[in-house]
Point group: C2
Chain length 84, copies 2
DNA sequence: TCTTGACTTGTCAAATATGGCAAGTATGAA
DNA sequence: TTCATACTTGCCATATTTGACAAGTCAAGA
């Protein structure tokens, strides 16, 4: 049912961002907490833009976020509505 | 055992690239075949660079590739060695 | 009201991803 | 050897991410 083929760029960026925000909140972290746990520097500006779906983050940026959130990268990258 | 915390940028890019290449070959596709299946244009140059881990692709580019390969994005983003 | 914390958003500079083209490498077949 | 296919890599121009800072919004308290 997911009709992935027609998913627009803005849509998947929004889903990725929602994933990041949801996991961050589940861990009880603020954006400032999160960047504090990230190895090489990431700005809260960028976190905010990613969570809002305003930026098309690189995989390495998302990977660093996944490390700080202590979840697999694939969890952040879960954009599928449902699997058969 | 995965020691994700110390994974360097070049290492995760290499794994992402290996994932793309492996799945593409499993599907019996050439790079030219692959770009032919991608909605908005992607150059074989870029596919090659991603597969070789030479470029830090954006999530939207990897998403379009996952669509063309008919696999979930999370499969391309599977960089974990093994899960506990 | 004032303050604080959390987040968003604008702007800027620097780095780099992307698309495009051309040239090079490698393999296999004729 | 010659040719074709598949892929890699260098270069270029353009677009955009990223890091950084400043300013703004919003909600909860004191």
């Amino acid at each position: 049912m997911s009709n992935m083929a027609s998913m627009k760029k803005s849509e998947i960026l929004k889903i990725i961002g929602q994933n990041v925000k949801r996991i961050r909140l589940e861990k009880g972290l603020t954006q400032v907490d999160l960047v504090g746990k990230i190895e090489s520097r990431i700005d809260t500006t960028n976190i905010s833009r990613i969570e809002k779906g305003r930026t098309n983050a690189t995989i390495h940026t998302l990977f660093r976020i996944s490390q700080a959130l202590d979840v697999p990268l694939s969890e952040i990258c879960n954009v599928q509505e449902n699997k058969s």
